[in-house]
Symmetry: C2
Subunit: 132 residues, 2 copies
Amino acid sequence: MDPRTTDLEARYRRYIGCLNDRRLDDLSEFVHEELTYNGRPMTRIEYQSLIASDVGAIPDLCYDVRLLVVSGDLIACRIMFDCTPQGEFLGLRVDGRRVSFAEHVFYRLREGKIHEVWSLIDRPAIEAQLAA
Amino acid sequence: MDPRTTDLEARYRRYIGCLNDRRLDDLSEFVHEELTYNGRPMTRIEYQSLIASDVGAIPDLCYDVRLLVVSGDLIACRIMFDCTPQGEFLGLRVDGRRVSFAEHVFYRLREGKIHEVWSLIDRPAIEAQLAA
């Protein structure tokens, strides 16, 4: 495997570690000052706030990397979550029930830092679990 | 880039071409006889039927590869669709309206053929467009 790919993979796993350890101030190491999230421009501070708000609503949020594909300046990751969101999450009243769902997320890096993010979360899976 | 990666990427693009040209009988070249789709075991015939049913409900379905990440035996792809599903699609009454949405899909290959698929489709985006 291309050593640069191995480096990026290790670097991405450090980024995930940073999220799981709630070291959100360290995001500057991994994320550009300006980025796009699902096509929407945002600053790193806004990106950090988005994650802080998820973590606030889901204290047991843990990013569990299941598939990781890295090539060139692109990263793709399938992440599993198994957690108990308090109150509302993604517009659904979860109210502390345990739900399990996937995120499929792509990143384009620039100079080794996240510059574009495209994320899909399996909201239908959460709806199905709440309806069960 | 690893020549094997380049090969797999070209091969995957041929698979997408096969879907876009509706040459579904050629899927045997790209897909194992037995696979799992979002964790559910299925035969290639069932996988082919699933795609045939999508294509039947959406005659103008076109797989537009936007991001492609290939490494080792893993492929990740962000695919965009801009189409007019007839009747119901993903449980939503679309009735021929034009909708645009993404799929984020991961594949694990075995001996160069698709053996595991994990797919998320941006159903909330379709809901939002229908509500607009």
